[in-house]
Amino acid sequence: MTVTATLPQVSEVFATKHGCVQQDDAQRRWLVEFAGRTASFDHRNLMKLRKAVYAIDIEQRLLEGAHGPDVEIIFICASEHCYVLSLLQVIAIKDLLEGAFVMLELNQIIHNRLYRAYA
């Protein structure tokens, strides 16, 4: 008798109190829940989001004080998503993405050790 178990296709990668990143294995996409909405990114766009967020110089923004802009617009080319974030939200999304990428790397290490040949 063959038993077919339906495994959940969406797994949580990393979560903070401000949001969470989930991976959808079937669609090969990541769901980023942040700033009150969930956006779906493919590999290329997730990399672009990370690059855009990491490129923001938070220290510089803090030093600018009242003279600098209050919001940061994160626009990702060829993606329907765009974020308009306050500096605190930028810090939070950076935190979220850093954690998520550490977990994805950890997942790769686990795959290497458990499922891929390690002769």
């Binding site: 797994s11 991976q23 294995d25 090969r28 990541w30 590999h43 790397e105 790769q108 795959h111």
Partner: protein
Amino acid sequence: MKDLLRIKSLISTEIESLLNQQVKKEAHSSSIYLSMASWCNRNGYDYSSEYFFKQAEEERQHQLKFYKYILDMGGNAISPDVTDIKQEYNSFREVFEEALDQEISVTRSISNIYARCLSTQDFVTMEFLNWFLKEQREEEYKARRALELFEVIGEEGTGRWQIDKHVGGIKYDSEA
């Protein structure tokens, strides 16, 4: 959870970023050689000018090798900004001194990537880099030989004219 990152790309983000830095370095090298070719041509050193034009083309080919490798491995190759290219030199000899410095810096940079690949067990990229390490032997040899000509011929009298003539004939044909 599937390892989607690995499915999409063979190289890690860190190695991808180092390789993109190398793309920029090679593009920078190519532009510097082009500037040297111009300086030599303007100052009457036609053989050296031709030598630097060839070097500029070689560096451009190196840049493309890195660029295509990143793309082939599933990464994002970034077309670099090339700025701050020195256009004037104080002497004929200074051009060659800076050419050697440039090659030493490229060798160092490739070695750094190699070291990082070793520590992250990225043997595929290491194997790709082997070609560049061998190439650097030739590049450094040629730059060092050109400077040696200044010592053995000397710059006095028609010395610089002789040096220029011999620069065109520098070859590296070691089978080692």
